[in-house]
């Protein structure tokens, strides 16, 4: 019984982690940016979805596009207001720009977190279920929404896979990730590619935020933890490797859930962090990363 509960919860949590981490790793893979405002972006999307669904009373279905729009707007604001000015700055040495971007996204994340707490509340919020109710598997009750959210996560990840591997746009993204200089020489507008990546990132992260608010609830205080989770998963899987991130997301989800059920929910994140330390020690490039 407990084993089945662990399996189901691991799949649900792992899917959510996977969706959250895929955007994070896409951003690093294509643009070379570790966006430390990642968790805050998810929270902004979650809060917007909650506002539309709960406060404005427009229901769970309307919350989805609102959350996605908030994710894209926040992502583009991060790019335009935080990242791009640093990238275009002539006052900064090229070698130092990465660390400046890292610091700036960290500060931007804090700013977003505090703005959300100030404008709304620092208490977590929850969006209404898209489909309320439960299904029974023997003696186990499974919320339909939890199941549906897992399918939505897989659908979004599959759509991303198709976009990257089966479209011209995807090939451009892959090209920019592999060799941006060559792409420029071939006549591609890199700024456009980066803008597109930020939009995709906003969609994925916004969706993850909305689904998170539906399953577990989301609030400004969680933004740091959400960034840390995505960071752990991406480093574990191999920086910039989407498949590695997917495997790592399910590994972390399973480890956390098993720990919560069999040991204690208080220490649920510790085994995953220990695994990260071991991976960094024995295989610093991550599970599927290359040196």
């Amino acid at each position: 019984m407990t084993a089945l509960r662990i399996l189901i919860d691991s799949l649900a949590i792992g899917s959510l982690y996977a969706l959250g981490a895929v955007g994070f790793t896409l951003m690093f893979g294509v643009c070379g940016i570790l966006n430390l405002a990642h968790g805050a972006t998810m929270v902004v999307a979650a809060m917007t979805a909650w506002m539309v669904a709960g406060r404005l009373g427009l229901g769970g279905v309307a919350s989805l596009p609102a959350g996605l729009a908030a994710g894209v707007i926040t992502a583009l604001a991060t790019y335009r207001l935080v990242v791009r000015p640093i990238q275009q700055s002539r006052a900064l040495p090229e070698a130092e720009k990465e660390i400046f971007i890292l610091t700036a996204t960290l500060l931007w994340g804090i700013l977003l977190r505090e703005a959300v707490a100030y404008l709304f509340s620092d208490s977590p919020v929850s969006t209404p279920a898209l489909i309320p109710g439960i299904v029974r598997l023997g003696r186990i009750r499974l919320p339909i929404d939890k199941l549906l959210d897992s399918f939505i996560c897989w659908g979004a990840i599959a759509a991303l896979w198709l976009l990257v591997n089966r479209t011209k746009m995807g090939q451009t993204l892959l090209g920019a990730a592999a060799n941006p200089r060559a792409m420029t020489l071939l006549g591609h507008d890199l700024a456009r590619v980066y803008r597109l990546t930020w939009i995709l990132y906003g969609l994925l992260t916004g969706l993850a935020g909305v689904l998170l608010a539906g399953i577990l609830g989301a609030g400004s205080a969680q933004s740091g933890q959400l960034t840390a989770s995505a960071f752990t998963i991406v480093v574990l899987g191999g920086l910039g490797n989407v498949y590695g991130s997917l495997i790592a997301a399910y590994a972390v989800g399973t480890l956390e859930t098993t720990t919560a059920y069999l040991l204690s929910p208080q220490i649920r994140s510790i085994p995953a962090l220990l695994l990260l330390v071991l991976i960094l020690y024995f295989r610093p490039q991550g599970l599927l990363g290359r040196r």
Binding site: T2, R5, D9, I13, A53, G54, R55, P85, I86, S89, A91, L92, F100, T103, A104, L107, W108, I110, L111, E114, A115, A117, Y118, S121, D122, S123, P124, V125, S126, T127, P128, A129, I134, R141, P143, D145, K146, L216, G217, G219, S220, A221, Q222, Q225, T257, A260, Y261, P265, Q266, R268
Partner: protein, 414 residues
Amino acid sequence: MACRSFLGSFALVSLLLVGGGSPLRAADPQTIKIGVIAEESALPGTGISKGAQIAADEINAAGGIAGRKIELVIYDDHSQAADAVRAFQRLVNEDKAVGVIGSYISEVALALQPWAQRTKTPYISTGAASNEISRIIHGDYAHNRFTFQGWLTSSALADSVCDAIKGLLMQKYAIKSAVIFSEDAAWTTPLDAEYANCLAGLGIGVAGHIRFAEDTADYSPLFSQAEDKKADLLVVGLSHTGIQPIVQWAQQQVPLPMVGILSQSTNGTFWKDTNGATDGIVSGMGFSADGVALTPETQPFVKEYTRRFGAPPPYSAFPAHDSIHALARAIAKAGTADPDKLADALEQTDFVGTVGRIQYYSADEQFTHALKYGPGLVQNPFMQWQKAHQVAVWPRAATGAEAAFPAFIHLAPR
């Protein structure tokens, strides 16, 4: 350089938002200043400053204290002890506040307690329940006499929950065992201990005791653990966990009813916050519930708060309101801002507030300087969310309404 100044402005704005904050009111030498410390990003925190403001306006409208108006100086402590201590020091040293009220977090109130003594400034906590606050005063009265606990202790809250279980549930349902289910915080340690004690007194066995971190996100394993205990009831202590335990309890249709102290469920917006998941939750501190009129002051305060701020007051607004009145009466009675005389006058507090007759336990009593609890004093009304309304369900004399639970709750009739 442009980039550095850009980052600099980020840091500045961040510091302004994260940092200690600033007083919300300008200084006026003709007024008597009272400090208010509360978190302005959480509903119980805003309830404190808003409840206090209504009380200050009432006092000023009635002519103030000996012709001098009250001025509140409000600081946001972000529910952090360090910020609260900085705010307290600033209130005393720079703003010259004659007294301070605030914080519904026991850990923060405990951090302010020594500063009330060091600065000889009367401090009344507004919603913090830990027995530890009054135990420290009782244990060393001479060195802690400036702190007052303007709220019921955890032990009193637990006893009131047992009273409600007995009167509300045990008359109708066969309740044989319960799981104590509380967040890990200073106020729940004595709460859980007294739960175990008073449940045993009712003949209800404690099948399990589950405590969890306040930032727990996934409650599935905890509910699963509770169900495995085959209990009839979850007796809870939740204040800082947010909505997740309630939302997930409803989403997963956990068949155990939740009864206890769920302070956030006293917020007027809680139905919307949880998208209705709070349907059936029974909680104490339901002062805002429909029809609750513990004193002639209760309903006028609820109506005024709702009129001004658009939603009924959370529980913390009541002690904040009453604490400002207690301080104002003490200042008037002492006729001076001398802290020793003020503390003496506060000890003699006796008036009818919004939650009952306001008196503090004396130095000889176990819960020194805590709010007195019991019939004829302050009582703890229980409410239940039913169809988007906070309905008073216990004591029955309030409205006579019955408790009603969602279909997924399993309660065997007596």
